[in-house]
């Protein structure tokens, strides 16, 4: 069964450093998403991406964040200058139009 895969599973970074979280969505999906879950809190929408552009982003997704689909298979989330409060589990998801989103296993980002 196809699945969304994310790498790495755990990333530790120093405050102020740039991180790139990587995702390989399911191959025939056209809609891509990033969500995050701060420990003990709700899963929060960050951004949706369709047709090589952002379709919607939340207020969390400020100028420090960017997304890219560099090669037709990968979907990346970049955080330019990490802050302590960026520590969270980041989930990538993909889907087709008006169907459920399929989530990856997540990348746990720890900013120290």
């Amino acid at each position: 069964e196809p699945e969304v895969t994310q790498t790495p599973s755990h990333q530790v970074t120093q405050m102020g450093q740039e991180v790139i979280l990587r995702c390989v969505p399911i191959s025939n999906h056209l809609y891509f998403y990033w969500y995050r879950q701060i420990l003990g809190q709700k899963v929060e929408f960050l951004v949706s991406f369709y047709n090589n552009e952002i379709s919607e982003k939340s207020e969390i997704f400020d100028d420090q964040f960017s997304v890219e689909r560099p090669d037709g298979s990968n979907f990346t989330l970049k955080i330019r200058s990490t802050k302590l409060e960026d520590s969270a589990m980041y989930f990538c998801a993909s889907g087709r139009m008006n169907t459920e989103a399929f989530f990856g296993q997540g990348t746990r980002l720890t900013v120290v």
Binding site: Q6, Y31, Y33, V43, F45, S48, S55, A93, G95, F103
Partner: protein, 116 residues
């Protein structure tokens, strides 16, 4: 604004008994409703969805959910709980007319504990 409420932080049930995990929602138009499950150190796994049609939807692992428009609820149910059902359950909603993509609003989650 869209919102989802899961009023119970935790639900405890004995194995073999029926279980219900509650969810109520608020959207401005017709809702798309979803249940996801999260096992420890794992991602979110899709269980079932309501888009339109029959108010009772069946999903994975014997789970089902009933859409009630008048009560704006979408409670998750299972006739006979298993210990392996113990996990964190999330209800999520999006507006039907949100452009085809899934900007999901999640509830806070309900931890289901099934005791032998």
């Amino acid at each position: 604004a869209q919102s989802v409420a899961q009023p119970e932080d935790q639900v405890n049930v004995a194995e073999g008994n029926p279980l219900t995990v509650k969810c109520t929602y608020s959207v401005s138009g017709n809702p798309y409703l979803f249940w996801y499950v999260q096992y420890p150190n794992r991602g979110l796994q899709f269980l079932l969805k309501y888009i339109t049609g029959d108010n009772l939807v069946k999903g994975s692992y014997g789970f089902e959910a009933e859409f009630n428009k008048s009560q704006t609820s979408f409670h998750l149910k299972k006739p006979s709980a298993l210990v392996s059902d113990s996990a964190l359950y999330f209800c999520a909603v999006r507006e039907a007319l949100s452009g085809g993509y899934n900007k999901l609003i999640f509830g806070a989650g309900t931890r289901l504990a099934v005791h032998p």
